[in-house]
Amino acid sequence: VDDFDPTILLDRLEEDQGLFIKIMNIFLDDVPKQMGALKEALDTGDADTVRHQAHTLKGSAGHVGATSMQVVVREMEKAGQEGDMQRTANLFPLLEQEFEKIKHSMRDMPGPANTEGAQ
């Protein structure tokens, strides 16, 4: 699975590079907040919030083409639904790694797609 396929979001935005940058900046700004809420819920054993945050992250990742991150959060959501909080917690470092990869992909992207949020 590719880490990040920018053509998915570009296609969604009808090839509008300006909107692509705007949306990726929102994604790069918002995902750490969601991951923070997820980590806190894992630490406190708040299963409902874990499921909800994993579900929301799955949507974010899917819409911007963060395919590998989407796979990880889908697994986390599934584990959360099955009540396996330990497995959800074990997957969290992998989620962090996948997010870092997306940040690097954005930073390495040439031209206008290189967003400020990825610096």
Partner: protein, 197 residues
């Protein structure tokens, strides 16, 4: 046409707002069910709603039920947009009153087509409701002249509901949109103006 988006994920919310604006819609964004419900209470609120299912404060199903309870004429067109793709989820969404159901991640062409169908339905429903209202108003006028009217056998005055005897012309003019234009029938013309015939 105005569209309300209720979506708690900032990225998805921004994508939806951007592309709907590109397609010519006026967009109002909300980040949870309670915000969406509050926005729908405003005067001239959007009648086309794109509703996430899992949201904080009030979930999409509850927002949907409230809309339907408040809007029995179904003037609001609701599209559920959610990652919950199971048959039971779809049935629950439609059962709560949604008109359509799209799963995430959405396909642009599909979303565009379905939103366009929703916009057309809203336009038709609003037009229809307007026509029904005008018909009901017209019907109310017609009903004023229904029923048994007491009329004097000699002078033809009519007794109204306040027990006042009114001239036939005045009564009819007061209870309908009809107006009188006085003339002579051939028999009266013969009787009163024989020199004219």
């Amino acid at each position: 046409m105005k569209v309300l988006i209720a979506e708690d994920d900032a990225t998805t919310n921004a994508i939806l707002e951007s592309i709907l604006k590109k397609w010519g819609y006026e967009v109002i964004t909300t980040r949870d069910g309670a915000q969406a419900w509050a926005a729908l209470q405003q005067a001239d609120a959007p009648k086309l709603v794109i509703l996430d299912r899992m949201m904080p404060k009030m979930d999409g199903l509850e927002v949907c039920r409230r809309i339907r309870k408040k809007d029995p004429l179904n003037l609001t067109y609701i599209i559920h947009l959610t990652t919950l793709a199971g048959k039971d989820d779809v049935v629950a969404g439609l059962g709560a009153g949604a008109n359509d159901y799209i799963t995430k991640p959405f396909n642009n062409q599909e979303l565009r087509a379905r939103v366009a169908v929703g916009a057309e339905m809203v336009k038709l429903q609003v037009d229809l409701a307007d026509k029904v209202e005008r018909l009901e108003e017209a019907l109310a006028h017609i009903k004023q002249l229904q029923g048994v009217l007491p009329i004097c056998a000699y002078c033809h005055k009519i007794r109204d509901d306040k027990e006042v005897w009114q001239k036939l012309e005045a009564y009819v003019e007061n209870h309908s949109d009809a107006r009188f234009s006085h003339s002579f029938c051939p028999e009266c013309l013969d009787k009163y103006y024989p020199e004219e015939t």
